[in-house]
């Protein structure tokens, strides 16, 4: 046992014994100071157990502490039944710490923990009970001169962060004829400042087609997300998911709002705010029957995570080398399968060279947080390989399979890095740039496999002519055939005015106005989600 755990056991046992003594004293002569002392003991037990990772001790002491803090504030009186529960809890805590000290496993542990769950339930029940009658009973027991005795017996419950959802940011739409004031800052006065989750994600997942209960999987995913953050948008709609009805394939594609026609019936889309990291979120989404998913960090994709030309060149190179490695591995597997001795031969050498080549190029990548995970995966494969190269043993099929798995991990990561990057294409138009020409060129370049959303920033322009808008619409029509979703975005500073002539122009659903750059992507995606692919009828803006 190391010194830290030794210290922990000594200290915690002492505190728990003190707590027990405190309870004994309270039985004989009640004093509010006892509650304070008891509270402090339990509080420090909670803290130290949490630090040691003994979560069962932490959980019970946490609930007990909650109850004691209510007693301290005068909302509960420690009498009769409540005292019994406190005794039992402290007793169980002592047992649990003893168990940890002697490293007891098995059925003894099971018994103790199931007991502690019961106690936790009891304690929680008592905590939730209304305490008005109690407060009357309390008067003769406590000392009137105690300053906190006069505290009103109104329970102040902390707001459940999940219950208060910041309203979804309205997708401000720049109507064709708006030329005066643009928008008010999105100030949503909340009664209590709730920490807004920091990360913003765009999550898209493909569910497995052979899932017998797709609706259930959808529901579970939504619940998981709700637990850890705020879901701003879902597709299919929240009502449909919560009703847990199986969606027929055809209806799914063209739902009542006519939205999201580009989605496959087994896909789900979320806009999501959370404090979870991207990796953690990916893990959280694993509820079975999910074929694939990707998570785009909206805060980062656009600003930091922009691949440069060099990065692209690197990954192209990487995948080429990787193909070579794989074919060499294939040869090795065949050799070992045919009973030949697969000693380090030319193939082994080739793989080694390829790995070294890749590693030497990794240095050229910008030291970006984004690449860490992938670089680690690659480095692991390389280290493993080099270890095996020096060990002069025959290479078994199992070893080769393991190596393949390691490399596969790295390659999957790399693939994701490249893939996630190009879903959104962002084009910023300069002031004098000709809208039509640049758009026409772009629409030829775009590849529907790589790009799914095209954002055209027209902030630098201060005027669009009717004829231009018409042409934009026709270009967007070709994009629609390619299944790429276009949007015009504008920061509202130059007061974009659309010269609409006599006809109203069908641009409403294609315009997004943003105020701060960091909101841009989220707003754009929201807009895409709330509006059909493309205005169906010309002049259909009401």
């Amino acid at each position: 046992m190391d010194t830290i755990s030794q210290l922990y056991f000594e200290e915690t046992m002492e505190q728990l014994e003190n707590a027990e003594g405190c309870l004994n004293e309270m039985q004989q002569f009640f004093q509010p100071a006892h509650v304070d002392r008891l509270f402090r003991y339990i509080h420090s037990v909670k803290g130290s157990s949490d630090m040691m990772g003994f979560s069962e001790v932490k959980d019970l002491s946490h609930v007990l502490e909650d109850l004691l803090s209510q007693a301290r504030e005068g909302k509960k009186t420690l009498t009769g039944e409540l005292m019994d529960v406190c005794y039992q809890s402290v007793d169980t805590l002592i047992h649990m710490v003893e168990n940890r000290k002697q490293d007891v496993h098995g059925s003894a542990s099971v018994r103790l923990i199931s007991e502690s769950r019961n106690l936790i339930q009891q304690l929680q029940q008592i905590s939730e009970e209304s305490s008005f009658e109690m407060s009357v009973l309390r008067e003769p027991v406590t000392f009137p001169e105690e300053p906190h005795a006069s505290a009103a017996p109104v329970s102040i419950s902390l707001p459940d962060p999940a219950a208060i959802k910041p309203p979804a940011p309205p997708a401000e739409v720049l109507l064709p004829d708006i030329s005066s004031e643009t928008s008010s800052p999105a100030s949503n006065p909340l009664p209590i400042p709730v920490p807004v989750p920091v990360h913003r994600y765009y999550v898209r997942m493909l569910l497995s087609p052979d899932n017998p209960m797709t609706a259930v999987t959808r529901f579970l995913i939504l619940k998981r997300l709700d637990e850890n953050g705020v879901v701003i948008y879902t597709h299919p709609s929240r009502e449909l998911i919560e009703a847990m009805t199986e969606l027929p394939v055809s209806q799914n594609l063209q739902d009542a709002n006519g939205a999201l026609t580009f989605l496959n019936p087994h896909e789900m889309v979320f806009l999501y705010r959370s404090n979870l990291s991207r990796d953690h979120l990916s893990r959280e989404l694993d509820v079975g029957y999910v074929e694939d998913h990707f998570v785009i960090d909206l805060g980062k994709t656009y600003q930091e995570y922009r691949m440069t030309k060099d990065d692209r060149a690197f990954f192209k190179y990487y995948f080429n080398e990787y193909a070579r490695i794989l074919s060499s591995l294939e040869q090795l597997t065949r050799q070992s399968r045919h009973g030949q001795q697969a000693t380090p031969g030319p193939h082994w050498q080739k793989i080694h060279y390829s790995l070294i080549k890749i590693s030497s190029r990794i240095i050229q990548l910008p030291s970006n947080e984004r690449y860490h995970q992938w670089i680690n995966a690659h480095q692991l494969a390389k280290d493993f390989f080099e270890l095996e190269t020096t060990a002069n043993q025959p290479k078994t099929p199992a070893l080769i399979t393991y190596l393949k798995t390691l490399l596969m991990h790295a390659a999957t990561d790399a693939w994701r890095l490249v893939k996630n990057e190009v879903v959104i294409k962002h084009l910023h138009l300069e002031e004098k740039q000709h809208v039509l020409l640049s758009l026409q060129n772009l629409s030829l370049e775009l590849n529907p496999d790589l790009h799914q959303v095209l954002l055209v920033d027209v902030s630098a322009k201060n005027r669009l002519l009717e004829s231009e808008v018409k042409s934009i619409l026709s270009i967007f029509q070709t994009l629609k055939e390619k299944q790429i979703r276009p949007l015009l975005i504008h920061d509202g500073k130059n007061r974009l005015r659309i010269d609409q002539g006599t006809e109203p122009l069908p641009l409403k659903s294609l315009f997004v106005q943003y105020q701060y750059e960091h909101q841009l992507l989220e707003k754009a995606l929201l807009q895409l989600c709330h509006h059909p692919f493309f205005p169906e009828t010309e002049g259909g803006v009401s």
Binding site: N99, S109, V287, G288
Partner: protein, 131 residues
């Protein structure tokens, strides 16, 4: 009584089903995802499952994740506390952390492998499923 047994190991799945066959009809699955969908299906049928036995160490979706999902679904299907589904974790893991995690995710009993017929009976009795 309908019983759902979820274990990726063939032998232990069959042994448990033999033990439990005296008390009800057993449905056997070998992964968590399937268990969840079967559970959801049964909730919409006339005779829902009353008991689910889940192994913890399973490939892809582990027992904790399965248990958590089932409890989440239960809140929707049967919000009343009365006929709550009983969940037994059947596993060879015996350390306190795992036991605690299982209980905090809402399992009703924890059965450690290897178990005897007597232990299975005792567990069911403690859950009030048999007398």
């Amino acid at each position: 009584m309908r019983i759902l047994i979820c274990d990726d190991h063939d032998a232990s799945r069959i042994v448990l089903s033999k033990y439990l066959a005296r008390y009800g009809t057993c449905t056997l699955v070998d992964n968590g995802a399937e268990a969840i969908s079967l559970y959801a299906e049964s909730q919409q049928s006339d005779e829902p499952f009353q008991l689910v036995c889940i192994d913890i160490l399973m490939p892809q979706m582990d027992g904790f994740n399965t248990l958590r999902s089932i409890r989440e679904l239960e809140k929707v299907f049967s919000p009343k506390d009365t006929d709550k589904l009983k969940v037994i974790m059947v596993t060879a893991l015996d350390d306190t952390d795992n036991i605690h995690q299982a209980y905090s995710l809402g399992c009703d009993a924890y059965l450690m492998k290897p178990y005897t017929l007597q232990q299975v009976d005792d567990t069911l009795k403690s859950l009030g499923l048999i007398t």
